[in-house]
């Protein structure tokens, strides 16, 4: 059963598109799990409209959703990667567990090869429940 809830992710950090736990806007989406079911700095795999989606929670409780499919390794694994930050701006990223390419959690762009990106999804936390909304853009790789 697909749940429709209110709430749409908006950016908390500069240029980011994550959602902080306190925000609420109107949009339908798929209920994933409770926020605390995702450990800080890790991801889970969710089934969203038939697609495997990786949902991550960062150290400061932002949540992000990316396609789980690693375009380099061509396998559904990104949620199992290590989450951290890079650079002065503390860009949140996940490193693929297969060949270690890093993807910006906010945009899905590969930090090692900006020509490659994975799809991102709207995501929000509503009353402690993580909800993934629409896929944001089609990527051309």
């Amino acid at each position: 059963m697909t749940h429709s809830v209110v709430g749409r992710g908006a950016s908390a950090g500069p240029g980011g598109r994550g959602a902080s736990a306190s925000e609420r806007r109107e949009t339908p989406g798929t209920v994933i799990c409770r926020l605390e079911q995702i450990r800080r700095e890790s991801g889970v795999t969710a089934l969203v409209e038939g697609e495997a989606v990786a949902v991550f929670r960062t150290y400061d409780d932002e949540v992000f959703a990316l396609s789980n499919f690693d375009p380099f390794g061509r396998a559904s694994v990104l949620s199992r990667g290590i989450v951290g930050t890079l650079g002065e701006d503390a860009v949140p990223f996940v490193a693929s567990p297969l060949l270690k390419q890093r993807f910006d959690l906010r945009t899905g762009v590969c930090l090692d090869d900006p020509a490659v990106a994975v799809a991102t999804y709207d995501v929000s936390v509503v009353d402690g429940v993580v909800v993934v909304g629409a896929r944001r853009e089609t990527i051309g790789s």
Partner: protein, 863 residues
Amino acid sequence: MSSGAPHLRKQLVVIGHGMVGHRFVQAAIERGLTETYDILVLGEEPRPAYDRVALTSFFDVGAEALSYLPTGEYDDPRVTLRLESEVTGLDREERTVSLADGTTHRFDELVLATGAAPFVPPVPGHDLGNVFVYRTIEDLEAIREASKGARAGAVIGGGLLGLEAANAMHQLGVQTHVVEMAPRLMAVQIDDAGGATLKRHIEELGLSVHTGVMTELIDGDADGNVSAIKFKDEDPIDLDMVIFSAGIRPRDALGRAAGLDIAERGGVLVDEQCRTSDEHVWAIGECAAPGGRMYGLVAPGYTMAEVVVDTLLGGTAGAFTGADMSTKLKLLGVDVASFGDAFGAAEDCLELVFADAVAGIYKKLVVAENATGGYELLGGILVGDASAYGVLRPLVGSGIELPENPEELILPAGRGAGIELGLPDDAQICSCNNVTKAEIVAAVSEGSTTRDGEGCDSPACVTKCTQAGATCGSCKVVVKKIVEDHFASVGKVVDTSLCEHFAMTRQELFDTIAVHGYNRFDDIVAGHGRGRGCDICKPTVASILASLLNHHVLDGANATLQDTNDAYLANLQKNGTYSVVPRIPGGEITPDKLIVIGEVARDYGLYTKITGGQRIDLFGARMEDLPAIWKRLVDAGMESGHAYGKSLRTVKSCVGSTWCRYGVQDSVGMAIQLELRYRGLRSPHKLKGGVSGCARECAEARSKDFGIIATDKGWNLYVCGNGGAIPSHAQLLAGDLDDETLIRYLDRFLMYYIRTADRLQRTSYWMDQIGGLDRIREVVVDDSLGLGSELEAAMDTHVDSYFDEWKATIEDPEKMARFVSFVNAPGTPDPNITFREERGQIQAANNDAPVSLGTTIPVGAPR
């Protein structure tokens, strides 16, 4: 036999099986001299050659560990070694040597390698009981015995060896007096001021130093044992033992009696080819006096041995033309170095001195003005801080002009640091291995590659490629400086940081974590790093925490630090599935367990393959099926195994003495014991072991990080080998060990590696970086850092706290929660996972784009 009937072959006799005699035989075998000569070695001591330089470590490691030839036999059947065979006569006419029992041996060529003997001055009482010299293992055995009942003792002689003997006596718990006739210690190497500094250091350790005193008489008690020592102008001292270390004398008696030319100050006189006045007699090592001078160090003796082998092979290139007598050592924990013209003997030279009495530092440089008005270095003395030795020694005799203010070279760092030394390209940087600056720069230059085809980009790698720094290590600082200068000159930044989050090496991070007792990544990165970490530092921290604490890798927040495979306790394969490798310790398995493995593979549709590590790999397991697979194994009395992670993989074995006609030890039993002991051990890189039951080496143990090969007396332990793209053979660390000692050394070795290696540095590279096999032997066998018991205790903690991490996972609902295909649809398998079939089994397949299930699949509600 390769070259004719034995009686037609020429006979070569070597007298003396000490350090140099042994080196001679080794070189003779390696370079093919035994193709034309049969070699007979006659040694007086009851045991084959051993490392006399490391004699003092006998007290810690015993005689076995020092031996160069534990089996008492060379690999080459054309060499015969006879021990306890003192040669008493040399007949040059007949070309024979004779032993005390009257047997004689004919020779075509004779090599004297009889070494030197301690000089015992004819002081009355020198022949009393409990008066010793310090030269052989037997001497040390007797000294140890006497020390048991002794309260006080004296070492007569305050030179290099005397201080070493004093150190030993002190360590044996005897109140120690050092008695030196000269006005200072180490009179040969250092000057008055240096000697005074050294004396203060030694007195602080609780030894008494008496310089400028003449021993008049040694007094004995009723049993004929020493009871006191009397001096010319000082009060007598009551004591129970005495060690003479008043210099050495070449053992040239045989040559003397046979009428060979003898040098004025002793030693068989030889020319540059080490030939004596008889063209068929050669002398090498401490018994020889090339050009009239004897050398009391081993390196010149080794050179002489090589020269004689070369000459006997018909070569003309080899010649002994003198040796570098520079010395650097740590005596009783005090750095002392002396090099070049240490006493300023040259005319018109100048001395530059820096002394800090409080810190106990004395440094002196001897310099001379050159033609252009600059200064060149002639020699120097360093006491208390010899760190500049590596930079200074190559300057001697190089013709290099010193910087404007040469005193900067010896000022303490901070005041004079950072001076530039314009070493010319042909300056010899590593004297042990004769490597020049140009060779070092060439090794790290653009386009150069190591033997594995990668760029050489660090001092450690230069040591590996050029050998510079691989022997005594004293040149390493300079090697590092040259590499850094070179990189700076080409605009390359040398960064030893682990990653952008931690500006330290793995070892520094290890020490930091251990010192602070951290157990959470958050505290570590907040206290010593920046940002929130990455896929490099997080697994590194995870591995360090696992080594230190040995908790479950998926406990609490640590789960998010784990690298790919550790994170799910299995090996991730290319299509997102995992492989499971049940542990089969030592490769031994019962038929019942084998059947269980087969059943699991069949029931879960897994691809099955036998690995090189004597295990069975089961591929294609979906993440959500892993716990159930583990449970089947646990229920059958097995556990899954580490084919993943930086940890012990397997200890491979051959069948050994339990079945094999050739086996001499139970290699399977030992392999099982070791695999069970070290399983789960997290390390900087993967670790592999092997145990072979005899010298045939069927387990290929020498291609492992630790390899054990059975001997008829016990086990030989080899370390730091690896297979893979650039194989290297493990090297012998210690021989003929009993089970207990073997495990003790292995505990120390593995923990030392875990603590000091860089991330992803395999043991062979680590060995080169820390200073070679000798360094490992010092720490592991000689326990020179005194770390032995700490390392063993750390390993005991690991062993005691080992648990089956797969079983612990299936018993913990919190950990189990991560093993689902989808959090919101746990019953739905990931549609992206695909297989194809080949040779009747599944194979992994990949898709070019994500595979969708469509939107109609129902998903579950949140809990």
